[in-house]
Amino acid sequence: MFSTFPAAGSLFPELTRLQQQLEEFFQPAGVAGIRSLAWGAFPAVNVGSTTDSVEVIAFAPGIDPNEIEITVDRGLLSLSGERRGDPQGQQGANTYAQERFTGKFRRVISLPEDADPAKVEAKFRDGVLHVTLAKRESSKPRQISVS
């Protein structure tokens, strides 16, 4: 999942990543920087594919798995829900940091064409939503024997 090879994709995510890597490079390890993980959209999403499936990993900590709405429509996977603020945090007299996302979110992911919307499975563990879509039989690599 976390390979060192550049992902196939558009240029802009790569530029953002480059920027992030530079920031990480110039920032001593473990020291809190101005920017934290909350630099992008919520939830952060990784998409990968294997010969049999398309895997979508959404990093959605602090969300009740029953409240995530997952829909697949015409090749678009949509994740939506709401992350509520922590009540104890609001009672505090002074707030020193408020970096974590709160509010409604919606993320739409364009699926590869060979993903089968009829075969979707979703799992949630430790704040990570893992959606697995099977690939269509016709798109799987086949070996053709010579008769």
Binding site: S36, V47, S53, I57, G62, D86, A97, R100, V128
Partner: protein
Amino acid sequence: MSDNMNVTKTDRASNIPQTGRTQNTPRQALVPAVDIAESESGITLFADMPGVSKERLTIKVEGDNLMIEGHAQIDVPENIELLHSEVRSPYFRRSFTLSRDLDPAKIEATLRNGVLQMHIPKSEEARPKRIEVKVG
């Protein structure tokens, strides 16, 4: 103050891939987003650490330095090819400097759905006190 306190026990003997890491060889880690609020009783800290289970979370206090470190476990097939990636490292690490008013020996930590919640109480002397004024 205690020198080295593990609030949550780390299970290093399990089959977690550990690459002989020590504190002196920091590896690329993400900085988790946090919310920090102070109340009369102490500091409450929330940190987003998706994918981190209790066994893979370490909380360390060394002197006035508090460090939280976690390793996210995401089960994906081995032959996966990454198409799009926003989270590039499964490691989270962040350090904080604790005020002297806080009592690191009484830190309480809970982890739920990938969110770490910590309560660091103030030491008795540092808590606000109400002084009754007697009418003489």
